[in-house]
């Protein structure tokens, strides 16, 4: 139930402010497409951004700058693993 996975935003809808048409996005991951609500997302995503999806809602838009920092941390620690061989 807490399985929250990153999905790529394809299209945004529901920007009218009408409760019958809440903010939402069409998102895709591994060929699976679904619609998710954007009521609680921290930062409005744009098409092409990745969002973390949980129980039909986007929780957060992945931060690209932080994504690079995250990757750098991964590569640094993984490189350390090689030296120990």
């Amino acid at each position: 139930m807490c399985l929250a996975i990153p999905m790529r935003v394809i299209e945004i809808s529901g920007t009218s402010g009408d409760a019958f048409d809440p903010p939402a996005a069409a998102v895709e991951a591994d060929g699976i497409r679904q619609n998710v609500r954007l009521d609680i997302v921290d930062r409005m995503p744009a098409p092409g951004n990745y969002v973390i999806v949980h129980a039909g809602f986007a929780l957060t838009t992945l931060d690209e700058e932080q994504a690079r920092a995250n990757l750098a941390l991964l590569e640094e620690l993984a490189a350390g693993g090689d030296e120990t061989r």
Binding site: C2, D42, A55, G56, L77, G81, T84
Partner: protein
Amino acid sequence: MKPADVYRDPERVRRLAARLAATVHRPLRFMEVCGTHTVNLFRFGLRAMLPPELEVVSGPGCPVCVTAAVDIDTCLAAAAHPEVEFATFGDLVRVPGSCGTLADLRARGARVTVVHSPAAAVALARAEPGRLVVFAGIGFETTAPLTAAAIVQAAALALDNFCVLSFHKRMPPIIDRVLGAGHRLDGLLCPGHVAAIAGRRAFAPLAEVYGLPGVIGGFEPADIMLALVRLAELAGRGAAAVENGYPRAVAENGNPAAQALTDRVFIPADAPWRGFGTVPGSGLVPREEFARFDARRRLDLTPRKMGSTGMEPAAAAVSEPAGCRCGDVVAGRCRPPDCGHFGRRCTSTAPVGPCMVSAEGSCAAWFRYGNDGE
């Protein structure tokens, strides 16, 4: 390459495992407080890669597992009302209360519908104006804002046939409970998606109050290994610090919009936990302003038992499934194989307790993936 792929790359995971092995020099015991970590440690074969001195135990991070039997009985009492359509995430349907499960009640004619989102429960209420849709709100900081959004939407739509039976729970009070009562832990693998909402700072008391290290971890195999490496490094130095190992999704202050929505709709309340009893301020119930969306204020939820013709009044005594040690499992006091029912009376096809019912439960993960790495 998709962003996720690099975090699944077996070569990087292998190198992180080597680094972890080179970092752990003495017996260490970490706790993961997230059902998805529990499952993914098995699913990606990570448990088999852990150094023998490192033990990783489960904590109270599986929402279904920590829901007390008394709360399951409340679900049964709600679902038994003839006008109610009970909407819930799937796992809850098979969890036994003191006299059966929601699935048993459904077999006797109650309307129990599995939904995958609180938004789907609102849609159900709009589609079925003649029924009262009761959504079972379950989950931690990650899920509570979703239920809050559903309540706010129902209010905006002036939807009178939707309400929530909230069992939502907060992570900090239960971490206090785990750490306050004499523990044998060397660090915490902190839940990435709770932190995506609550922020790194929500876990800072680990270091500041309890002098323990913590690392917030994502959910891909390399994320989990990365967090364990950093945790082992901190624990090895005796450093009390809470690090963010998942910065691409977790900010220092989390997601303030989601926090504000939860605060607007819910107020903390005492709540019962399986394995811990009542924990002050650990639950979330709708505020007065949203009283008409609170199932507890709209329905008589006195405990009932399943009789031959449906639900009948029952004494309030609540029993856990006999011999089930879920309460000890979620508190990290025992491992699933330490339970006498594990793999014998209790299997994934015939679960005895919630830790086997829930896909995120520790017993289910151990049963499904075997005893890798032990």
